[in-house]
């Protein structure tokens, strides 16, 4: 399938118009506001963002709604819903004896659902493991809390590809864990090439992103509130449930945001630890673009993914309206 790299003139003109619009907007802002010189400083950045963020997004939208010849079409989205859509049309053209093959393909939907499910699992596990960790680290009784946080962050600085590959060494059939198991007299287990391994890899990579925001929001909490609660007669559990946990919610939300989104779109981990057996949405998009060379369907898939993520983020934002979450975002 040859690529359509020539855009009709109307698209080019629209983009140029948008560019001018933004520059005009910048100028108007300058003219109207008080800090004249200062707000102007943002214009190089504005230009950059328009060029390298807005325009690419528009290009994705463009490719989603066109076919390889540049004509407007909704076929790409139909291909999302029914992955055999264009293929079925081919069968129909080829003759009646092939009509038996015409059936709806759910490849894209299946993979999307699978990715969402894995991301949910990963986020859940990270939360279950990470919250206690953050809680214990923020506990004033454990004096080396801040050192521990640094220790948690250091692995993040090592290349995540190498760390994932290191898991291969551990999980392989002849790998270290199985060697240990055999040494202890147990049967060797199939630890790789399955969902579990992929989940493990994901949790391993994203756990610090969950721990850090929760820890930050827990340490920001005023400890006198805890004392006050205890003075008022609450026991440990009550104190936790009624005081600590609600105050840590912004951190939890931040953590969930920072873990869920990358989990849905990860594509390296399933490939290395899943052995090509498990295809996730990131793999699918990469496959469409780089293996199949089908930019139109690939863009449609990317658009759908972006919309899904925007929806889930806005839901999460509702739970933390002031954005006090302790993370970076």
């Amino acid at each position: 399938m040859s690529q359509n790299l020539n855009m009709p003139p109307w698209v080019v003109w629209t983009l140029v118009a948008l560019l001018f619009g933004f520059i005009l907007f910048g100028i108007l802002t300058v003219k109207r506001s008080n800090g004249i010189k200062r707000s102007f400083f943002a214009s190089p950045y504005t230009l950059w963002m328009v060029l390298f963020t807005i325009v690419p997004c528009l290009l994705i939208a463009y490719y989603s709604f066109t076919d390889p010849n540049g004509a407007f079409t909704l076929d790409n989205f139909k291909n999302f819903w029914d992955s055999n859509y264009s293929v079925n049309q081919l069968y129909a053209q080829m003759g009646p004896e092939y009509s038996v093959l015409i059936q709806r393909g759910t490849v894209n939907i299946d993979i999307l659902v699978y990715s969402l499910w894995m991301a949910l699992l990963c986020t859940g596990i990270c939360l279950a493991l990470g919250y206690p960790a953050a809680y214990f680290m923020a506990d004033r009784q454990i004096k080396i809390g801040s050192t521990l946080v640094v220790l948690f962050i250091i692995p993040m600085w090592m290349n995540f590809l190498l760390r994932t590959v290191a898991w291969m060494t551990l999980l392989e059939d002849q790998g270290l864990i199985n060697t240990l198991l055999k040494f202890l007299g147990f049967h060797s287990a199939q630890l790789m090439y399955n969902d579990g391994a992929v989940l493990l890899g994901m949790v391993y990579n994203f756990l610090p992103f969950m721990v850090f925001p929760i820890y930050t929001s827990l340490t920001k909490m005023d400890s006198r509130l805890l004392e006050a609660a205890q003075d008022l007669g609450a026991n440990h559990f009550h104190t936790f449930w009624r005081v600590t946990m609600p105050l840590s919610i912004p951190g939890v939300i931040s953590g969930i945001t920072m873990v869920f989104m990358p989990s849905v779109t990860t594509f390296f981990i399933p490939r290395i630890l899943g052995g090509g057996n498990t295809m996730m949405f990131g793999d699918l998009i990469e496959n469409r673009f780089l293996t199949e060379g089908n930019w139109n369907v690939g863009s449609a898939l990317s658009l759908i993914m972006m919309i899904l993520i925007l929806i889930s983020l806005s839901i999460l934002r509702k739970a933390d309206p002031e954005g006090e979450g302790g993370g970076i975002v």
Partner: protein
């Protein structure tokens, strides 16, 4: 008893986090090439590391791109943050949405959209495109690091400086900048770190000719990681540790002073 439980939980966590890293580092001392067989201690791979052209080139690319992208992003982002801070509510909200957008976009979509952009504008992918991509995704993080500092700063400092006879550029460089410098430094370091470790965006915006460490590792990961790469990460780990210790010492020194 409770303390013990808490401590052991944390210890287990740390074990979980560091086992692969320990494996990585141990592998770098393995005299043999295979991942599963241990053939004795050797520093052979460390020597090989410096002779391996591909790795050295990739390291060079990674470091230069990280440095340049971080510097450019910091300049661009700091200016932008100052500008955004001085805007009125409505334009400010628009700018903040635009700043948050790339961070909410999954990196695969960012990478692909940039790939589309470069192919469409017939710019051949390579070093330059990778650099542009890195600056693009770094800048929002710089802005988000600098803005809080700007918000903490006294609103009237700038005007006071102007009243006292300073020119706008002098006020900017010598009044505002020192106040927000912690935020700027944080942004710079953050951008540098992100660039160093980036894989997905680099994967889509570069050509097979120009590889950074992450894309190199990816292409080797499918065949078999040579221990030279393990040696490299062991060295980087050590460098990191040393850096953190130095920073820690400095921080405690200034705290005492």
């Amino acid at each position: 008893m409770k303390k013990l439980a808490k401590r052991s939980y944390l210890a287990l966590m740390l074990l979980f986090l560091y086992t692969p890293i320990a494996v990585l580092i141990l592998q770098s001392f393995n005299a043999g090439k295979s991942r599963a067989k241990w053939e004795g201690l050797s520093l052979h791979w460390y020597a090989e590391l410096f002779r391996d052209q591909a790795i050295m080139k990739a390291l060079y690319v990674t470091l230069t791109i990280a440095v340049i992208a971080a510097a450019a992003a910091t300049v661009l982002g700091t200016l932008a943050a100052i500008g955004i801070h001085a805007m009125r509510k409505r334009p400010q909200a628009v700018m903040m949405t635009m700043t948050n957008l790339p961070m909410t976009m999954p990196d695969i979509v960012t990478g692909i959209s940039l790939m589309i952009l470069f192919t469409f504008s017939k710019i051949e992918r390579g070093y330059v495109t990778m650099l542009l991509a890195h600056i693009t995704f770094n800048t929002p993080y710089v802005i988000l690091s600098v803005l809080p500092k700007l918000k903490q700063m006294n609103k009237h400092t700038y005007e006071a400086a102007l009243d006292l006879g300073a020119s706008p550029s002098y006020a900017l460089l010598h009044v505002i900048l020192p106040e927000i410098s912690p935020g700027v430094i944080t942004g710079l370091l953050l951008a540098f770190t992100l660039s160093l470790d980036d894989f997905v965006i680099s994967y889509f915006t570069t050509s097979p000719m120009v590889q950074n460490l992450s894309t190199l590792i990816y292409s080797k990961a499918r065949i078999g990681i040579e221990p030279t790469l393990n040696a490299l990460s062991a060295l980087m780990f050590l460098a990191l540790l040393a850096l953190l210790l130095v920073v820690n010492r400095r921080a405690s020194k200034t705290a005492k002073a």
